[in-house]
Symmetry: C2
Subunit: 419 residues, 2 copies
């Protein structure tokens, strides 16, 4: 049995690069950007008017102020947003300008309508405090043509969508998602639409896993296989070829019908570990099947040439909370590493004393709340790893290390959010 830290390191070392695909930008929210996004022009691309009002030559204003002449400017015309730049012909005059418009030629300063009176085609400025260049968003102030606006490996959100639109990236390169199959085993399981007999229950873990993967924008397929070794073996043999990742729920513990470890072994799936010193989720099985690239058997020893592909196998224990916690504690970090994003570790403050004697890392369910900038984690003790309904009352797991048995209110530990 290995520690949670060793298990996680092994999982991370098995990260896989699934390459890049190009998709419409508007479909890319939640995906991982796989190119740098450059400014295609200066931002703003022209000296941009940022207030509705009048545009003047600042020196005309100051000379009138100094000589105590009226602060009145004849209106030469209107510069609308979306119109070609016009020219202030006489710098003693002004031009009405709209937010988003190009600043007219020969003008450099904008006074907003609120500070101006317009009468008979003449605009009179009602205040003395005008700054040279005010209300003009200068060409290139936010970025120069060629600047990197979004770095590679960023999760695309609404903010990035706006930038992609602005620079004309109607399609964008993102990390390709792995092809995932989620398999349940266990002859006690029936479909969601069925009425279970006394000794049966409905399938739920596969749907939980589908939803947890959906949070990462990873589509997945599901299957159920009966607890029959030859059937398991032949189906899994196909899945190993066809998919990049297999997630199993159940059949990895010590039961008479827990055939998966044997089947994996017989199918040449390399066991990287089985059993982790944690609660819940201890009987977790993790391995990898490497398919040799037969066309390149004589080439040098580089992984890219030697292996056609790897299929990663996560064998989660079948109890609902065990499957759930292992998905967020291992599959999530594996995914982040595979797409090359850094997921910041979040920490929270324990809101009650907790005692936990076994020499295991304890993933304890907590309800989170924000108080005065502090993230508070209140433990909700369920009825063990079978108590799926308890997850409804909580938001995250707090990870209590195995080198202690007493955890005090006020102490800080890492958390893994799942909503």
């Amino acid at each position: 049995m290995i520690s949670v830290e060793e298990a996680l390191q092994t999982v991370l070392n098995s990260y896989q690069d699934f390459g890049v695909e190009e998709i419409p930008f508007i479909k890319s929210v939640g995906r991982i950007l796989k190119e740098e996004i450059f400014a295609d022009r200066d931002f703003p691309p022209f000296n941009r008017v940022s207030m509705d009002g009048i545009a003047i030559d600042y020196s005309a204003f100051t000379s009138r102020l100094r000589s105590k002449r009226p602060l009145s400017f004849k209106i030469e015309g209107i510069q609308a947003a979306g119109s070609e730049q016009i020219t202030l012909k006489n710098t003693e005059n002004c031009i009405e300008v709209m937010t988003g418009a190009v600043l007219p030629n020969n003008a450099n300063t904008v006074i907003r309508y609120e500070d101006v009176t317009i009468e008979n085609g003449v605009a009179t400025i009602n205040i003395d405090a005008i700054n040279d260049g005010q209300n003009v968003h200068s060409k290139g102030k936010d970025g120069q043509k060629g600047d990197v606006l979004i770095e590679e490996n960023k999760i695309i959100s609404a903010a990035e969508i706006g930038v992609l639109a602005t620079v004309g990236k109607s399609t964008v390169k993102v990390a390709k998602q792995s092809k995932v199959m989620i398999v349940s085993t266990g002859d006690e399981l029936v479909g969601v639409d069925e009425i279970p007999l006394e000794h049966q229950i409905r399938r739920s873990n596969v749907f939980t896993l589908v939803s947890l993967l959906e949070r990462l924008n990873i589509p997945s397929e599901t299957a159920h296989i009966t607890d029959d070794k030859p059937i398991l073996k032949s189906k899994i043999e196909n899945y190993l070829q066809e998919y990049d990742v297999l997630l199993f729920s159940g059949a990895v513990s010590k039961g008479k019908y827990d055939f998966l470890p044997e089947v994996f072994d017989e199918l040449g799936v390399e066991k990287l570990f089985h059993k982790v010193a944690q609660r819940p989720g201890k009987p977790f099985w993790f391995g990898r099947k490497s398919f040799l690239n037969e066309n390149n058997l004589n080439s040098d020893n580089q992984t890219n040439d030697k292996y056609k592909k790897n299929t990663i196998v996560f064998g989660f224990p079948g109890n609902p909370i065990s499957t759930f916690v292992n998905c967020v504690a291992y599959f999530y970090p594996w995914y982040y590493k595979s797409v090359d994003i850094k997921a910041e570790t979040e920490t929270a403050i324990l809101n009650a004393d907790v005692s936990f004697k076994p020499n295991l890392t304890y993933f304890l369910q907590v309800k989170l709340s924000s108080r005065f900038g502090h993230l508070i984690a209140t433990p909700i003790i369920g009825n063990g790893s079978g108590d799926l309904a308890s997850l409804v009352k909580t938001d995250a797991f707090i990870q209590l290390p195995n080198d202690k048995t007493e955890f005090k209110k006020g102490e800080v530990f890492p958390i893994i959010r799942y909503r």
Copy 2:
């Protein structure tokens, strides 16, 4: 000009109930549950074996221990998960049992395989410390038939999906989403696929808004209308009838072509406010168009009868950050209130001194980080409300109130996350 607090209250008072629809449970992640979910049977539905091992009658164990006889039990049979309950015929014997199986009749305690040696059909227990009823997850321990497992008005996540599957809710009632149209105006705007002329820029705000609504699982449509008053009026007249919510970006300020406030007025959209004491996003226009229910003109004065429907109009200012902040600061709370969920206010600790003189609420962009259970908000000063690219570097807005001008490092304020 009203305060942010008054504006928000007005927006919340205009919440709308869009009713309920029933959808496949597996499509319901992110939607708002609109029914209570009950346990359809006890959980677990039977005394459930929670470890692979042997099941015995505890009194047979204690009597042997007392009389110092060997702790050996003849194996009568196997109780597999998914099989009908069998009976321990002789309580001096045992039955092999698998995780998830029904506890056999006449047995009450399970000893895991790790603590047992099996030879020639006899299981010998290797330890003395056995508790009565151990490793049995008792019928009804997590919940009784008829218990509420999920309350109404909960956001459905992976945890709820598992419970829905377990109780056989293959379809589920959720809040119906409003029909939303997002409209950009501004003649300077061209499509994402187009090459803008010198004085033009590409449309981006509508796509940002689409993505921000997608976070709430609200689908939306988009349109662009030219800055031409008759065209604006005729299109908006149709949209008011056809949609529940209209989001506009631009044309609500003081510009010569900012026709929207006039058009709304002429179309009978009641202005609830125009301009909020905030930066950015000040020229925000908000209103409502009520359509009388002509079939019920003689009925009593109840809203349900008198009005066929209301259309809510959010007129956001056209600068990218203004549109963005107003969507998360007003539309999001309006949606939460409309679907009847409580969004907890999150707070963070300011990581730098900030000075802001105007008598306005300041929505300042911040980068968030988690340190020792504290949520730290580091201000990133952009180049004003036009600087869309600055949103890429930040995660949230921190809301600095207008009754102060100096905000010190270490002080705590509310935040609005957008990623």
